[in-house]
Symmetry: D2
Subunit: 356 residues, 4 copies
């Protein structure tokens, strides 16, 4: 069978549309017709050659949802329901071995030493079809939902869920989200779902539209760093928290200065989670004594996600309590993939998706 | 009643022996005859004027044990047992309000906004006697034990207990202790008590005797940073952990380079606790992406301790499973207090105590 | 100063209105004009003499809110704000010693061995005024709110918060609340706040109005045990949870049969919390193998609450996300206290309050 | 290839020695020469037909260790080390799917809905050889150790590790172990490893030798229920814990009366774990109010174990800190399997193993 794919052959060059001949399915493999593939910030990094692990040529796209076109043998979703042709599904972008120290002893599959990722270490979803290996964890979607809306659960949603799972949030707590991109917006919604009394989002002028969207997602307040000074932001947060600071701060940016600011905002005994630091940002000088030890805070690195997190992001979107449809500001065809990358890079869109 | 005290009147100058007239006891206050007062590393900082909060004049000494000489009214220890004249006791050096957000809502009394400390924010134990205020949490000691041995539970022991309580240690885990001072030695013993399979201690040439003592406390191995390169230490740890790294690293030094090294040694999914960073060390440049996020680790600031931690340190010493008597390498009289400070500063001793 | 109180002098007899002369305030004591006092289910038990600890005579009323009429000295609320005459306040009904093993070592003040309770072990809020002892933890209310609505945070709200704090609830989880009384309704709202995907409430025909109110509080579904069989309820829950069961079940009844049913509904690996079993119900026969071990579940006893839980209940009501005003179905004057007790006993009301 | 096995063909009848022809290995399967197979208490239940799930005919034996005789393809242990012919290995008796809700979302593989067990739901280790399916989690043993000593890690050791992992044990805590069988002795050693200050073991006259062995494993004290009254035991524990009770009680018996006694011994705020209730014991009447709610305790059902627990039990034995060799009081040949079952049933031995 022939499929069409969009291939990264040279860094910084346009992706190329090609035809590929698919191999026949092996036992428990699934052929999926991609209905929507998300364009993630890390796709930009890979395209520019900034992610040194990127194998060339590569079909990008680690976020995907689609419809089952074929299956070899019997395969079940994570609830034991048999997957059938025609089912609408989403899947964990990561493939884990289920046999290593991290999978088996530490029960942290996102740290699996043999982890593979569709669209990052092997071909992904910028294509009309993809074959899902038998190890792939699959979630059947019974609810009606625009595939373009659901797809962001795959990466930004799941990673935000991972971050939230590492933060204890009490009813009375204040949460700060740094960065109103897709991951930040998911983190905001998850913080609301955990019952945080106040959730503030901090962004830049460039992300003004995103900041405003945050208010529709239930943000208590937004802070634009181009319109406020560092001192103003700190004193605003202090005032809003009776001088305590924010019990939980979640960094959904990739910036050193945000990192230093977030530390200052974290309340004594609080948690600072870092899901956004997804690519190298060099060394950041930090005063461990003043900002971490003296306040007895916890800094939690957050690396990718596992199927449990994906499932939480899926349920969040399907709850329809939040306007996730407003996140998807533009849809592109497969041959417009390069343009989609550029529009994410320049922040013309909040979230771009391909409809192959 | 007249008592003798050793007073810090000017930074970097010898402490002065003076006589003081004690006020009469108020309801639930206790007059204690000090049997032993520990000389802690932070006493050196205060003496040198490096701790800006130090009020002058001040009687140093936040570590103390002693015998009850008088009580006003009825007072109970934390097990509800009535305290009587002649009882041998230890107490929490911190005085907390029991009424603030951190005491009452977060249940983290060590973050109490009104916390006072004997020997730091108010007069301490470099004296023949001390009056314990009614808020003081007291532990009666029924077992026979040399007061000089028990006294180190007050600060380094309790803070090490606090650090360990924030680290999940499984039977199969490897723990690294950076810095074989009193706090590091307590952390080593606590890690053994938590069942860690392997515990390594890292020190310097200057602390060679301390490193050797660690072997008697059950260290699996010791590493001298003056005799090994950074790369050798890293590869040694990798080898000892089947390539995984140490699940728990505890920094009991006050050094930036140890901080950067400890991050490299922490296994994916692990914890890096920082009880040792007890005074400002300036900014430390850290690669958050490589060392924290990519490995999904937790960094835990550890600030002082509370009564629960103190009690754990007391029980550890009283278990007599570890040779804590070897920690106390020199006893000084009250008038030798300045000399005691100097011998700690130059590391001529592991732990010095005053016997007033 | 003279105040009016409603006193329980003999079990099962009408409460008597009396005048009392108040002593003068001691240091840090507060005189409060009661604005509203809640009538709790345990008041009925005490009135009937079923709670053997009840001292006679006693002014009932452990739930209360009011306005500060006088203070001796300086007193702060839990955020360090000074309390002034005219302030509208709520307080922790429990008085804890802050000095015992449970307060200091286990940090579980609700287990304090010296715990006293206004309206249970000492005089309470069925009165025009109450003097709050200096150990009382106080929360200032700045928001405008009908005192009758807020008062239920004191006991049923705080205890529900305690229960929820012991249940890990993930986004995808299903929660079952047994018993739609005030505590059950708080538990429902808290479960929604923790992000539980589905929350079902189970009640009786007698509590039909309460069950319907649950739908307004966001219950996914309600089950009336007089209209469904045990088997129907079990199979309904299985269907709604893809065969798994409810990850969290919270028993807000005081019934043995509910207890046995709740165990059957709890999913493997789940939690069954028991805040409702607040008075002796005799022995309940349970199959530990089938219902607890084979499913690897946790049963969590929940006894009363502490100030952190009270604060969470207060914030929940003040968020105005839930129609707590509909909980208060009748207000009584102080002299109608006996009638109020009877109307709670016969479930003519959901929640009754006194407006002294 | 022909192997010899001991088969259960009829309940309560002697096991029969038979020859079996082994099929050829499939990809990633391993042929193991059994060096030792443990005789577990549940084997007795199965033999007597009390475990209704037992398929006939069945080769019993869920505990096993052995040497690799053949492998098809490449297979790694949980540390990524390639398994070679001649390697001495132990493996998780449970086979889990790695794809269901409990494996993937709840990360509790011991609750896997598709869990299979060697020697329980499929043929086990009462045999000269066994073929391990590719899903089997394998741990290579590099250390020298008598296979008969190691084998008890498989089930009783792993399940005790699971129980301990659900109990928070602080340095100062007291732990009670009910039942000095192999599981109880492992629980005792694990409690020591967690640093519990005092560990008491309760047994019967019939298990006197086992109780004495507990002292060699570090028990602080032992209590024989045939020589002490219930009241004496309760008051002994109260005395030893300053009136508080035991923070952690672990029931390693299968008895209703032990269950009721254990509840009485659990301290307020404590945990009562139930790994021993491994077969139906009918209904046990319990006073939930007095024994669970009033004390705010947690009851934790413990069902089987996963590879992490197995690994902890393996490391515990290999640490050689405890005399596990004294646990194995008799070795039997394969054809003596029936006799081995009987000697376990009548408690003539502590732990029996087959050396096929």
């Amino acid at each position: 069978m022939k499929i069409r794919v969009s291939v990264l052959r040279e860094f910084n060059e346009p992706l190329l549309i090609e035809e590929r001949e698919l191999p026949s399915l092996k036992e428990k493999e699934i052929l999926v017709r991609i209905k929507s593939s998300g364009v993630c910030g890390s796709d930009i990094h890979m395209w520019k050659g900034k992610d040194l692990r990127t194998p060339l040529p590569l079909i990008l796209g680690h976020e995907g949802v689609g419809v089952v076109e074929d299956i070899k043998g019997k395969k079940q979703d994570i609830f034991g329901e048999r997957i059938k042709i025609g089912d609408f599904i989403i899947w964990d972008r990561g493939l884990v071995c289920g046999n290593c120290y991290f999978c088996v002893i530490k029960k942290e599959p996102s740290l699996c030493v043999n982890r593979q990722v569709y669209g990052i270490t092997r071909d992904g979803c910028y294509a009309t079809h993809i074959i899902l290996l038998k190890e792939t964890k699959i979630i059947k979607i019974e609810e009606k939902i625009d595939p373009a809306i659901l797809v962001s659960a795959s990466c930004s949603g799941a990673t935000a869920a991972h971050a939230i799972s590492q933060c204890e949030i009490s009813k009375e707590d204040t949460v700060i989200i740094q960065g109103p991109g897709p991951m930040g917006i998911f983190a905001l919604a998850f913080a609301r779902e955990r019952g945080a009394e106040k959730v503030f989002v901090i962004g830049t002028k460039r992300s003004e539209k995103r900041l405003k969207l945050c208010l529709e997602f239930g943000a208590t307040g937004i802070l634009n760093i181009n319109e406020t000074s560092f001192e103003e932001r700190i004193s605003y947060i202090k005032e809003e928290t009776k001088g305590v600071g924010a019990s939980v701060v979640i960094n959904c940016t990739n910036s050193s200065s945000a990192l230093r600011e977030g530390l200052k905002m974290t309340a004594p005994g609080g948690t600072y989670a870092l899901p956004g630091i997804a690519t190298p940002i060099g060394d950041t000088p930090v005063s461990f004594y003043e900002d971490i030890v003296r306040k007895n805070i916890k800094i939690q690195g957050i690396w990718v996600s596992d199927t449990a997190h994906l499932y939480q992001a899926v349920r969040l979107i399907l709850s329809k309590k939040y306007p996730f449809e407003k996140l998807i500001t533009r849809k592109f065809s497969l041959k417009e993939a390069t343009e989609a990358l550029k529009s994410v890079d320049t922040r013309k869109v909040i979230k771009a998706v391909l409809i192959p």
